[in-house]
């Protein structure tokens, strides 16, 4: 029984079924359902789709079919021009009048379910998907065997090569470009981007799988590249000549014995050149460099030899070079402890390396004589010195790791490398983490100093993002790195120079009449309109594009030529500027780090300037923070017996000129002396009685990426930590004093350290010995949220597990008195957390509890038995912060940097300096003076590094206690709450591939089309091939 290839009739039946099923799926997905109650059906029209589960794509440029000469053209001969018909190869000359030949750009897209290659004429706007056999209904493509893995075309367009992983038939196929177009000229009936007919081809045969030159591999291939073996010089003439195979001499004939290899003796004679001559492309002798994952190495195969192979034989491929890749992962150096007071270092263990095995290379990238290979099994990115494909030599590898999880064995699935060095001679390699789809960046420049992933220079500004990788909410399925420019012509000469950086400081500006000027000034933003010049969607420089499985393309800045012109006009440390930042004629944005190498690109201007229109984003708040009382009612800001939120002040005074806050997108000056919202009069900040009493805060502007999401914030005095709502814990009150006999509250699922719980002992370590009472107050406490059993519950008349009658220990009324109800809880429900672990907390009755002696404050001896008796089952609970303000975002939750001590298991702050802004507790600030006037006149100020100052990645503030009354300090009331909403979150530049709102999209591959400057994206779902225009960052065409 032969299982592959499918016969033509089978393919036809399959496609018909696909159409029906896709239709059914679309109906289902769209929610367009017939009404069952009417017992009637409803017809829903749907588009027919020919492409399904596309894999990867490559392009060739072909001229009008011509029997007498080759129609192959270099890929750069094609451009973005379009015509309507697949048969139209002429276009109007730009000057009008005369016609000129217009070659067509063809996309070859692997179809992974059918084992075919679809050919799409991207130059034609109608019937672009070519039907190889119009006599058979449905779209018919080029059959190449099941599980096509990769496809690559020669740059001159002579042929395309496909790697196939069909089990038992793994191999390579060559598709000569002369045979990829249909043989008959029949325009299909479909319109738009539907399935089209064919153009006049040059072959007289319909494609069959046995009709392609092909060879068999020992195992399934992975990614492959075409890399030229350059011509050498013949002696003594110095005439350039290629070598037919790696073991031959330059200038040797193709059939020299050195090139016979292990060729199958049964293979027929080679038809040299009949299917095209790759050397005619002028790139030397092209070699296919192919990863063979399960064999742990890379094979080098002569592309022309494969193209010359007699079709249908399927002999073993002649592997000219085989490079087994290394598997020895060097032992990583231990991370030195960071140290610190009252904190613990995160665990560090070496990754548990798998037992010695072969490598499993998959992805490949090549630049400047170096080949890079990702590896799915071994924690290495292989670096291969490859002056020519015939001389591969493995160099010391790159070492993918994870700062967040140093014990993890990090492997990689894809790699891409910057095609050219940046102006500062840097070259970067991007590798996708095989486990989570994040991207790591390696410096592979000649002067590289580390083989580990690069880290962001100031990770503490944005601690929510990993410092050593770029991560989105969905993993990256593929990536490409593109270098592009949109050069502006000089006024005097009209010449346009590539690679010019925007210059914000030069005074020698290029005007229309300028004879000599600094070309960098041509790229400045038009500040009157923000519609030209440097901007978020203008991509000049080097950028990485990640295809996310969620149906989006994310853009990463690597080297933006316009970066110098993106930033504030006047620099400030508050904007994250350093000494090298100069300001000047810039986009007047509120951060020096709007463009940051190797981080996600921002989709908007980070500015308060309304001129930027829809592309304006400014971190701020919707309205001033509002205080609410414990019943949820707003508290009048003029009520002086209430707490107040103030902005913390910044030193030195020289930077205070930029002290401002965006409120509802309007900039409000903040008085640098008081931290109160103020007015600006004649350039001076003056008090505004209408604003002085309002609570306020300051946004952090150093790194716009720290503003991760617009959200609502709740700053609650003794607020509950989130995450315990549906948890159930057991009480184990065995505090006999004997070793191991502790009073604990157990629930491993609660993960108390991960939730940020702070115990009395943890606080005491920070405060120092002698502050036990204060530590007890600041410690978090458990609040039991279960009801005691109903009065008529049979429990009260039962016996406990020791056989003792329950009523001998507790009764309903006693329990109700001690614990109250959920609506009217008593203080007996509150237990201070003495020590916290990931799976449990040690507790004792909280100060003021009904289980404390009113005089001595000591816990009553009955508290354990009574609590255990009143709550016989698992209990629900809250954990509230003690005597502090809890800062919670409805998206971020309560930020903290508490970890479980790797040695003792107790919950403590991490010493990791990158986490210092991960905070969710604000201390109280005493307000020792009374206020009696209309405005607060004695309001304390708080320096942003002083006691009581709160800072998280997004903003900073301090909360003042209510003013003292008659000399007596006041304190907030549990449950009092400030509320505000942040705006202006960082919006990464992403291209949404779902043009029709469909969820049936899942990008799997990408390719840059140099001919058009566009990005081609293949969809693993039903959307075939999508073309993304990099000037607009939008999908401009879809072929399905």
């Amino acid at each position: 029984m032969n299982v592959a290839p499918m016969k033509r009739s089978e393919r036809k039946g399959r496609r018909t079924a696909i159409r029906l099923l896709v239709a059914a799926g679309l109906v289902s997905a769209g929610g367009l359902v017939a009404t069952p109650t009417g017992c009637a059906t409803q017809t829903v029209p749907v588009s027919t789709r020919a492409l399904e589960r596309s894999g990867r794509v490559s392009f060739v440029c072909l001229d009008r079919p011509n029997a007498s000469k080759s129609s192959v053209r270099p890929i750069t001969d094609c451009d973005a021009s379009t015509v309507i018909s697949v048969n139209d190869f002429t276009a109007n000359d730009l000057d009008g009048g005369a016609k000129k030949e217009l070659p067509h750009l063809y996309a070859l897209v692997t179809q992974t379910t059918r084992g075919e290659v679809a050919v799409i004429d991207t130059t034609a706007t109608s019937n672009s998907v070519l039907d190889q056999d119009p006599s058979v209904p449905g779209a018919n493509f080029l059959p190449i065997g099941a599980q096509p893995v990769d496809i690559v075309s020669s740059p001159g367009g002579t042929a395309t090569f496909v790697g196939v992983a069909e089990i038992g038939r793994e191999g390579l196929f060559a598709l000569p470009s002369s045979r990829i177009r249909p043989t008959t000229s029949v325009i299909g009936a479909g319109g738009g981007d539907g399935v089209g007919g064919g153009s006049t081809g040059s072959s007289d045969r319909l494609p069959e799988i046995s009709g392609w030159p092909s060879c068999r591999l020992p195992a399934a291939p992975g990614q492959m590249l075409l890399i030229p073996d350059p011509a050498g010089k013949l002696q003594p003439t110095d005439k350039p000549a290629t070598r037919p195979c790696c073991d031959a001499k330059f200038g040797d004939a193709p059939d020299v014995k050195e090139c016979q290899g292990d060729a199958d003796p049964d293979a027929g004679p080679r038809t040299a050149g009949l299917n095209g001559k790759l050397e005619a492309e002028g790139k030397g002798r092209q070699k296919l460099v192919v990863t063979i994952p399960s064999k742990g190495g890379i094979a080098v195969i002569d592309a022309q030899s494969l193209l010359d192979t007699e079709p249908g034989v399927y002999a073993p491929c002649n592997v000219e070079r085989w490079l087994p890749l290394r598997t020895d992962v060097p032992l990583l150096p231990p991370t030195p402890p960071t140290g610190g007071v009252a904190c613990v270092d995160p665990t560090f263990e070496d990754p548990v390396l798998p037992p010695a095995s072969v490598a499993r290379p998959t992805g490949l990238a090549y630049a400047d004589g170096h080949l890079y290979a990702s590896d799915l099994d071994t924690s290495l990115v292989h670096v291969i010195d490859l002056p020519t494909p015939c001389e591969p030599f493995e160099q010391p590898p790159l070492l993918p790791t994870s700062v967040q999880d140093p014990t993890r064995v990090v492997t990689t699935s894809h790699v891409a490398v910057t095609p050219e060095r940046t102006p500062d001679l840097k070259r970067y390699l991007y590798a996708i983490d095989a486990r989570d789809g994040s991207a790591m960046v390696f410096d592979v420049s000649d002067d590289q100093t580390s083989r580990f992933p690069l880290r962001r220079p100031r990770p503490e500004w944005d601690p929510l993002a990993p410092s050593d990788r770029i991560r989105f909410s969905a993993p990256a399925a593929d990536l490409v790195i593109i270098q592009r420019d949109i050069p502006q012509p000089l006024p005097a000469t009209g010449a346009a120079i590539d690679g010019v950086r925007c210059d914000p400081t030069s005074t020698n500006i290029c005007l229309a009449t300028s004879e000599v000027c600094d070309p960098g000034t041509l790229y400045r933003t038009d500040l009157a309109t923000y519609t030209s010049g440097a901007g978020p969607i203008k991509l000049r420089g080097t950028f990485a594009f990640l295809a996310l499985t969620s149906g989006r393309i994310a853009v990463i800045d690597i080297d933006d030529y316009d970066a110098p012109c993106r930033g504030p006009a006047k620099t400030s440390p508050l904007f994250g500027c350093d000494a090298g930042d100069v300001g000047g004629v810039t986009t007047d944005e509120l951060s020096c780090n709007v463009v940051l190498p190797n981080t996600p690109r921002m989709a908007t201007y980070f500015t308060a300037n309304d001129t930027a229109g829809q592309r304006q984003t400014e971190a701020g708040i919707q309205s001033f923070p509002q205080l609410f009382d414990t019943n949820g009612a707003p508290v009048d800001e003029a009520t002086f017996n209430a707490p107040k939120m103030v902005a913390t002040l910044t030193e030195p005074a020289s930077i205070q000129a930029v002290f401002q806050l965006s409120v509802a997108t309007i900039s409000v000056p903040i008085n640098p002396g008081t931290g109160a919202p103020s007015a600006l009069v004649d350039g001076e900040v003056v008090n505004d009685p209408a604003l002085t009493n309002k609570s306020t805060l300051m946004m952090n502007l150093e790194d716009p990426r720290a503003q991760s999401v617009d959200q609502n914030w709740f700053v609650t005095y003794e607020g509950p930590l989130p995450g315990f709502d549906q948890k159930l814990a057991s009480l184990q009150l065995r505090g006999s004093g004997a070793p191991g006999e502790l009073d604990t509250f157990n629930d491993a699922s609660s993960r108390f350290c991960d939730a940020g719980v702070q115990s009395k002992k943890a606080v005491l370590e920070k405060l120092g010995a002698g502050n036990e009472a204060q530590a007890a107050g600041l410690a978090d406490y458990v609040q039991i949220q279960s009801e005691i059993p109903d009065q008529d519950d049979r429990y009260w008349a039962s016996k406990d597990k020791d056989g003792k009658a329950v009523k001998d220990t507790c009764e309903f009324n006693t329990c109700r008195t001690l614990f109250g109800s959920l609506d009217v809880p008593a203080s007996g429900r509150n237990y201070t957390i003495v020590e916290a672990f990931q799976d449990s907390v040690q507790i004792e009755p909280r100060a003021g509890s009904t289980f404390r002696d009113a005089k001595t404050g000591a816990p009553l001896p009955t508290w354990r038995a009574t609590t255990d008796c009143c709550f016989p089952s698992l209990v629900t609970f809250n954990v509230r912060v003690g005597d502090q303000w809890e800062v919670a975002g409805n998206q971020s939750g309560v930020l903290h940097h508490v970890i479980a001590d790797p040695v003792t298991g107790v919950c403590r702050d991490s010493c990791d300096p990158t986490q210092v802004r991960n905070n969710g507790r604000a201390s109280r600030v005493p307000y020792p003076s009374a206020e009696t006037g209309a405005v607060r006149e004695h309001q304390p100020t708080v320096n942003d590094k002083g006691p009581g100052a709160f800072i998280n990645p997004m903003f900073r503030f301090a909360v003042l206690d209510p003013p003292a009354i008659d000399g007596a300090l006041q304190k907030p009331v549990t449950g009092q709450q400030f509320r505000f909403s942040t705006l202006g979150a960082f919006k990464p530049l992403v291209v949404n591939l779902s043009t029709e709102g469909t969820t049936l999209i899942q990008p799997v591959g990408m390719a840059f089309v140099p001919a058009t400057g566009q990005l081609a994206v293949t969809d693993g779902s039903i959307n075939g091939l999508l073309i993304v225009d990099l000037s607009s960052s939008m999908v401009t065409r879809t072929y399905f």
């Binding site: 696909i18 059914a24 429990y795």
Partner: protein
């Protein structure tokens, strides 16, 4: 335990039953959904279900010893008074499959061999109804007579098998039945016993006739007085799984945002069916979950503290867990079973963690779920060979368990992992442990991804190699995903409505990493038959194809 877990696939809606019966396979399914919703009930409640033919099969479970294949038939178009459970004799079927496979492999290599000859003159010509090269093996012939059968309610949506831990002879089959609704359980024989094995299928204390209807004492959730909370089973039980110790049964209720917990209890005497007080009981319903709970899978307990958890020794804080998928929410939930404690406490479920699915365009509409604990299990088994077993087992808990989900928006295989953290770290006798689940990747599939199962193929070197199989109901495909190479490595073309999946790979006597054969059995819902796929890569000529069908394919009525 890798039991079959299934639910009925979701169908696009359609209209009246009359038009549905005209419209062919998919339309029949569509119309039947409408039938129930609109009250246009046309089923025959007086005709007993057939015991000699499959009828909309939804669940396949191979017995642990490999002697029997249990098949649940759903009576999806309500032509009968209920569905059935069959116990197929694999010892009779397997030689027939072997003979056929050997003959088919000769075709193409041996010039004298033909498909016609391999099929004994019964070559198949209708590849739509039956994708195999030969006509189907009639059920009675495959089984050596009519299969052992029992009648159950309509709309069975899967099955799961549990071995009794304290004996080697008893086992139970739990079947969620939407028509009752109930969890119907059948007492069966455990064929791993070294003694004489007698195939049984008992769910009635009244009669032992073949095909007899299961009685109420084998239906969980019917009578409120049997429950300590006086509750009955919520409607639409679909996904089901059982904890490793066979005690906790968790079922997803598709329309009620709820999962239920039942507790299994074994009879005091081995071999008896259902003594007083030993009937499994419904204990708890966890509500307020996201819309559309669909499938359930039990999380294995690390061996380091498995005994303490199963014996309910309170020195470890870790509860048996189950993962839940949802149709209408982009999340994956982990719920935990809390066993009976002091006072009036009764078993209950709680939501431990909720994992957001953000790896594909929408994340909603998750269907089947499967886990692969083999790496951790292998490590734990190897620990028995070392001297410091606890330290070895502690290391094994750090090995993540792979999680796979079939999702439909877009059709994709979601890949994740479940990680277990013990506390305190590094202790060989931890006081607690918790699990975290992460969904990290998405692989495109084809329309109608539904059932999913982890099994083995025989690789070219003859070793067993893990694969994840996902049925795409609408597309008539089953995808084989290779976790080592991170890609789909084979696509199996099936008949109409592939749904339930089961594996049959008998290890060699000398080497557990090798097998004599590896088959994938596919329950074809639409045309009511089983397809058998060869999973032996050493034979590319038959690998990944349905080489045999069992039970005569029968298209939906009035839609031929």
């Amino acid at each position: 335990m890798q039991p079959a877990r299934s639910s009925l696939p979701r169908f696009p809606a359609a209209g009246s039953p009359a038009s549905a019966r005209r419209g062919g396979v998919a339309t029949v399914a569509l119309g039947l959904s409408a039938l129930v919703a609109s009250g246009c009930f046309l089923g025959d409640t007086t005709v007993p279900p057939p015991v000699n033919a499959f009828y909309y099969p939804t669940g396949l479970v191979r017995s642990p010893g490999g002697s029997t294949l249990y098949v649940t038939n759903s009576d999806f178009d309500l032509q009968y008074e209920g569905g059935t459970v069959f116990a197929l004799d694999l010892t009779k079927l397997r030689p027939q499959l072997g003979t056929l496979l050997t003959a088919l492999r000769k075709v193409g290599t041996d010039k004298t061999s033909t498909v016609e000859g391999a099929c004994n003159g019964r070559r198949n010509t209708n590849s739509i109804l039956n994708p195999g090269p030969c006509l189907a093996i009639p059920l009675a012939l495959a089984n050596g007579g009519e299969p052992l059968a029992a009648s159950i309610g309509a709309f069975a949506s899967g099955a799961v098998l549990v071995k009794r831990p304290d004996t080697t002879t008893d086992a139970r089959l739990f079947v969620p039945v939407r028509g009752d609704p109930s969890i119907t359980f059948l007492d069966i024989a455990n064929d791993t016993s070294t003694g004489t094995f007698k195939r049984t299928l008992r769910c009635s204390s009244v009669t032992a006739d073949n095909g007899a209807r299961c009685t109420n004492d084998h239906l969980i959730g019917i009578e409120p007085f049997e429950s300590t909370r006086s509750i009955t089973l919520p409607t639409e039980p679909v996904g089901i799984d059982v904890s490793e110790d066979g005690k906790a049964i968790v079922v997803a209720h598709q329309t009620l945002k709820a999962v239920s917990l039942s507790i299994n209890q074994w009879p005091a005497s081995s071999g008896t069916t259902n003594e007083n007080g030993s009937k499994p009981t419904l204990e708890f319903v966890l509500g307020n979950l996201p819309d559309g709970p669909t499938e359930v899978v039990a999380v294995p307990i690390p061996k380091l503290f498995k005994d303490r958890v199963e014996l309910d020794i309170p020195t470890i804080d870790y509860q048996p867990g189950f993962l839940i998928t949802y149709r209408a929410a982009p999340v994956l939930d982990l719920v935990r079973v809390h066993k009976s404690e002091s006072g009036t406490a009764r078993p209950s479920l709680s939501l431990a963690t909720e994992t957001l699915i953000s790896v594909n365009a929408d994340g909603k509409d998750s269907r089947g779920i499967a886990i692969d604990p083999s790496a951790r299990r292998g490590c734990e088994d190897d620990c028995l060979k070392v001297t410091d077993v606890p330290t070895c087992l502690l290391g094994c808990t750090k090995i993540p368990i792979d999680v796979y989900i079939a999702n439909r928006t877009p059709p994709s295989l979601l890949i994740g992992r479940l990680e277990t953290t013990t506390t305190p770290q590094g202790s060989v006798k931890p006081t607690g442990a918790f699990d975290r689940v992460m969904i990290t990747d998405s692989v495109p599939l084809a329309q109608g991804a539904s059932k999913i199962a982890v099994g083995n193929v025989i690789d070219p070197q003859g070793n067993l190699s893990r694969r994840v199989f996902t049925a795409a109901f609408d597309s008539r495909l089953v995808f084989s995903y290779d976790p080592d190479n991170h890609r789909v490595d084979a696509i199996i073309k099936t008949g109409r409505g592939p749904h339930a999946l089961a594996f049959d790979d008998d290890r060699t006597a000398t080497d557990a990493t090798k097998a004599e054969h590896a088959f994938l059995v596919i329950g074809h819902f639409t045309d009511s038959y089983l397809g058998v796929v060869d999973l032996d890569m050493r034979h590319p000529e038959t690998f990944g194809t349905i080489f045999a069908s069992v039970g005569t394919p029968m298209p939906p009525r009035d839609s031929k």
